[in-house]
Symmetry: C2
Subunit: 211 residues, 2 copies
DNA sequence: CGTTCTAGTTCGAACGCTCATTCTATGTTA
DNA sequence: TAACATAGAATGAGCGTTCGAACTAGAACG
């Protein structure tokens, strides 16, 4: 046994878990949470049917793990944005990258599946909403700092509305990837950049807030 | 037999079909296309298990019918908007109504289920994309007419981009209904109206088109 | 060094259940 | 009577999950 096995979760079982999650992500993306079967996931992960239950209590636990894994990526992105040196430039870059990421059919299929499941499975709904709150708060901080550094008002309700609006735009891309697949038009890309950068700099029509 | 029975589809079987679709819509909304079973749908529709197969070839045909039914509502809305007397006022009204409709958890749950299914079921994907194309074209005509009557350019690529952008916004609300349920904030509603009405009147940065 | 022990892995058969679908028999109605 | 409407049992496949036995490899011991 190598040195790493001193860790409470041995590296072997960690690897096995990752292997299962990778296979499950693939199957869920192709067949949906309920369309994909445990035996499919096992086959893809290269292990026997029952063995999966040494790593996950049941199928729902695998779903929950996948959901958490995917949503933690979002958190990472907002955290990176907030920590960036030149926020305005990073925002513009993230805006463009986000469009392509959310329009990618594989990414979109899994996220849509997660949201659809969230609309009926309370456990998934809770995970989704927790992640949403974190992302939202992180973005609010980022936008508030940008506005302050630009000498604009920092009306809380307005900033929250802006963040909610941006999130809605990006969530919409997930649906667009199915309704209208393929590369986004130049006009759409231009609109994303323009609207987001314009709105960040738009004074609140609601009230001033402390500047 | 009453007079209506001269029709190729008797009113009785029409009613039965509608009954099944109503029950199926309910079950699909609550459990998803694959989570809901035929026997659940039968129970809710008040008929025996096998009897459903006199009206639909199989489960997928029921799904397809539900998808078509729901998407035809979208087509109706865009058609109404295009036929309106005062397009600008009707647009503003539709914009507000659309926000609430797409945020309604029941509406959103079914539409998300449809889109998620569309990302893996080619038949559903085709129906979704057909409806999308019709809606898109209808909206393009509407926006072009508005811009012409306002003396603006009618650059085709720009108008298509605008329509795509609006659609993305409304699609995003479906996802928001899960991620952040509850009444939308006043700021978000204001942003929807403001951005849509502003953009419709924004000159194309791409080229003039024939005015 | 070789043997035994132990705890963690892994397999695959088995279980009970539910699913979508089919079939046959029985009303029902014009 | 002829055609349609309906019920409900039957079918076979596949599901998620459990279980006991086999395998593996390092630890402890003589």
């Amino acid at each position: 046994m190598n040195a790493a096995c001193n860790s409470p979760e041995s590296s072997r079982s960690e690897a096995r878990r990752a292997q299962i999650l990778g296979a499950a992500r693939d199957c869920f993306r192709r067949h949906g949470f309920h369309g994909a079967s445990i035996s499919q996931i096992c086959r893809q992960a290269g292990m026997s049917a029952g063995h999966i239950y040494h790593y996950f209590d049941n199928k729902e636990a695998i779903i929950a793990a996948i959901v958490e894994q995917d949503l933690s990526r979002l958190l990472t992105m907002t955290a990176e944005l907030r920590a960036a040196e030149d926020i305005e430039q990073t925002l513009a870059q993230c805006a463009a990258e986000g469009v392509h990421e959310n329009l990618d059919p594989d990414t979109a299929a899994l996220r849509l599946e997660i949201v659809a499941e969230g609309s009926r499975n309370p456990r998934v709904a809770e995970i989704v909403r927790d992640a949403e709150r974190c992302c939202h708060d992180s973005m609010v901080v980022t936008v508030r700092e940008m506005r302050r550094s630009l000498g604009l008002d920092t009306d809380e309700a307005w900033i929250e509305g802006l963040v909610e609006f941006f999130a809605t735009l990006y969530d919409g891309l997930l649906v667009r990837s199915v309704r209208n697949p393929g590369e986004p038009s130049a006009a759409l890309l231009a609109l994303f950049s323009k609207v987001i950068l314009d709105l960040v700099k738009t004074p609140s029509p609601l009230g001033p807030g402390k500047p």
